[in-house]
């Protein structure tokens, strides 16, 4: 059987495996990344996407809070982190955070997404009180907060085990973990770009610990800097094995590297071809992760719309006031409204579905 219009013969055996619902190998992953037939790769990803989700495309009405950019890690690819006391460093007090929540209390927000730096001084109680305080104001809202990197940092500072740290956060209102901080798992890349950061093993073990405690997480990959195709594929394979064990990853979100204002500002960042290919290959390799998300703040609304035809089933949310990517020069708007998101989805031939954090459908 042939798929009409597939141009790269190397895709044919992969097509047959995808059609048969078989798991793809590391070699398949590399061949997909190396193929010049972007649309062929995209069509294979669409087969999987449609099998899993039909024409549905999910979005969420959420609020982002980046509580502090003060960070001990100093990763070279980051435009957001600052050392304490450096120009542009900030931390929000709890009343400031609560005011941000109250400001938007009238909006039908279902998730508050909280991410920050690895702050050297904030006590563990700050994080617990933050979650408590937000939950007190908006009990119905799901708190997706603190990447595995932040959780490991908090555990370290509080001299607690990761499990106990997660349990304490969960008791304070934590609902799930975002997927950030995974970067690329390759030791070669990490030695050069983020030597201080939580190791790949550490990242995976925090995520898996969370899964075991009933907390879902997402997973990410920061691509388009110095990593090779093989290193991307290895990253995806590592996530797939972890998911086989604990099954708690909800969504995978490839993050396009934005070079402006980072320690790597001489790099170009990925092309749109690379963006779409990475999303599509992720859909194909991560056969056990339910959702592939295009974070429109990074890709822009136009490319995110196109990505819905390349294996993506989620475009994230009605984000307002996102700081991390915008400090890296993202020229995308600060927020999209619900009707803009729905139009964007419909124009791609998909059916917009508003979801909560756990991908339960919100009735219109």
């Amino acid at each position: 059987m042939n798929l009409p219009g597939i141009q790269d013969p190397a895709l044919q055996p992969i097509y047959e495996r995808v059609a048969a619902g078989r798991r793809l190998s590391r070699e398949d992953g590399c061949a997909l990344f190396e193929s010049h037939d972007l649309l062929g790769v995209g069509r294979l990803a669409q087969m999987v996407r449609e099998r899993l989700h039909g024409r549905k495309a999910y979005y969420i009405y959420n609020q982002h809070i980046n509580y502090s950019n003060i960070c001990v890690n100093g990763c070279k690819f980051c435009a957001f982190g600052r050392q304490a006391g450096a120009a542009g460093a900030y931390e929000m007090s709890l009343p400031e955070i609560f005011a941000k929540v109250e400001e938007r209390q009238a909006e039908p927000i279902t998730e508050i997404h909280i991410v920050g730096g690895c702050h050297p001084d904030l006590p563990f109680s700050y994080y617990l009180d933050m979650l408590h305080g937000i939950k007190a104001r908006r009990p119905e809202v799901h708190l997706q907060a603190f990447t595995a990197v932040e959780v490991a940092h908090l555990a370290d500072k509080a001299e607690m085990s990761v499990a106990d740290t997660l349990l304490a956060l969960k008791a304070a209102g934590l609902g799930s973990l975002p997927g950030g901080g995974a970067e690329v798992f390759s030791p070669r890349v990490r030695t050069s770009l983020c030597p201080e950061k939580l190791s790949p093993e550490g990242w995976v073990s925090v995520a898996q610990e969370a899964h075991r405690l009933g907390l879902n997480t997402n997973a990410t990959m920061l691509y388009g800097h110095m990593e090779t195709v093989e290193e991307r594929v290895d990253h995806l394979m590592k996530l797939r094995s972890a998911q086989d064990e604990t099954g708690g990853f909800l969504a995978f979100i490839p993050l396009a590297f934005h070079p402006a204002n980072t320690g790597l500002s001489d790099l170009t960042g990925p092309s749109a071809i690379d963006d779409l290919k990475t999303l599509a290959v992720s859909r194909l390799l991560l056969d056990n992760v339910p959702h592939i998300k295009a974070f429109w703040v990074m890709l822009g609304p136009k490319l995110s719309q196109i990505s819905l035809c390349f294996g993506v089933d989620d475009v994230d949310g009605t984000v307002m006031e996102e700081r991390i990517t915008h400090m890296a020069g993202a020229e995308t708007p600060q927020g999209l409204t619900r009707s803009q998101l729905e139009t964007l989805i419909r124009e791609a031939g998909c059916e917009p579905v508003e979801r909560d954090t756990l991908y339960r459908v919100i009735a219109a």
């Binding site: 009409p4 219009g5 669409q46 071809i273 490319l303 124009e347």
Partner: protein
């Protein structure tokens, strides 16, 4: 796969020319399948793994215009306080800057300004010609307007402009080449047959031209296909079109208002253009309206040309859409998409460098 769809894909696979009803059915195909077919035609017509671009400057000699197009945020009516006609000194400075930037030619367009005479146009053409830059100027509505005003036939007018130094024609002002649409959105602009007649005349006299389509306003998808067929028919007759450039209507600041069509609709329209216009050699991306990322993706949907550096762009910018790219950025965008960047001129002759 539906029966009609199979027949259509057989035709696409065989590279056979599509008739009108078949072309209209292309809209039913999946985006990526459509793109794959368009990409095949791209390689058949342009077998080199390169994407061309031109270093030029977009100069608008006047914004005064009687056309009253409801989709336009650039024009001013005669007598308006902020209407302008470019003065010679400023024009000279713009040309010098373009030459220093390595430019090969000027893209010159303006409003239908009743105060400008034939002698002004001829002087403008020779002024630019004398600077050593080639001139890609005057869309069909401008030529039609000037013919009417000056009383010259189209043939005579085109000859006078060519004698003064005009070397090719931009395909602007086509909007949608369906009179139902033109009457509603551009009441005082030349109708379809006249637009085509200007092009026919110019082609016969040896001028090459591009053709454009501004879509995503009040037209139907079928009317877009009709537009493509009018271009294809004339091309069969004259062979004078070098490239086709579809772009999306930008509503900011216009009387027509509405929402801009998204990237998926743009890519579908681009791919269908490639599939229908089997006789037009090049297909150009519109990074000005789509941004650099979608422009890269467009290279996989049939496009083989990245357009121009522009240096300045005033018409789309008046709607608040303001993408800007330097020569280096264009080259990088092409290369990182997997193609060689190839410099060309306005007649699609390849240039060194």
């Amino acid at each position: 796969m539906r029966a009609g769809e199979r027949e259509l894909t057989d035709k696409l696979a065989a590279g056979v020319r599509l008739n009108f009803s078949e072309a209209c059915r292309l809209w039913d195909l999946d985006l990526l399948e459509l793109g794959s077919w368009a990409d095949r035609v791209r390689w058949r017509l342009n077998p080199e793994p390169r994407v061309t671009f031109v270093i030029d400057r977009n100069i608008n000699y006047t914004n005064v215009c009687t056309s009253g197009c409801r989709f336009c945020a650039f024009y001013r009516l005669p007598g308006a306080a902020d209407g302008y006609v470019l003065d010679w000194e400023l024009l000279a400075a713009k040309l010098t800057e373009l030459k220093e930037y390595g430019g090969s030619g000027v893209l010159l367009q303006g409003g239908l300004n009743p105060e400008l005479s034939l002698s002004y146009y001829l002087e403008l053409v020779s002024f630019i010609k004398n600077s050593g830059l080639s001139l890609h100027g005057f869309s069909p509505p401008e030529i039609s307007f000037l013919a009417q005003k000056s009383g010259l036939s189209l043939t005579d007018l085109v000859q006078r402009l060519m004698d003064a130094g005009l070397s090719s024609i931009p395909g602007g002002g086509a909007e949608i080449l369906v009179d139902r649409v033109r009457r509603q959105i551009s009441p005082n602009k030349c109708l379809t047959d006249q637009w085509l007649e200007v092009m026919r005349t110019a082609h016969r006299q040896g001028l090459r031209a591009s053709a454009t389509m501004m879509f995503g306003h009040i037209e139907t998808r079928e009317e877009r296909v009709e537009h493509l067929f009018r271009i294809r028919e004339l091309q069969d007759e004259t062979g004078g079109f070098t490239a086709f450039i579809p772009w999306t209507y930008q509503p900011g600041g216009t009387e027509l208002k509405g929402e801009a069509k998204g990237a998926v609709e743009y890519l579908k329209t681009l791919a269908i253009s490639r599939l229908v216009l089997d006789n037009v050699p090049h297909l150009q991306v519109s990074w000005v309206t789509q941004g650099p990322k979608v422009a890269q993706v467009a290279l996989k949907f049939g496009a083989d040309d990245f357009g121009s550096t522009m240096l300045e762009e005033n018409v789309v910018a008046a709607t608040g859409v303001g993408f800007r790219l330097s020569r280096q950025e264009i080259e990088k965008l092409i290369r990182t998409s997997g193609y060689q960047a190839q410099l060309r001129d306005h007649r699609y002759q390849m240039l060194p460098g």
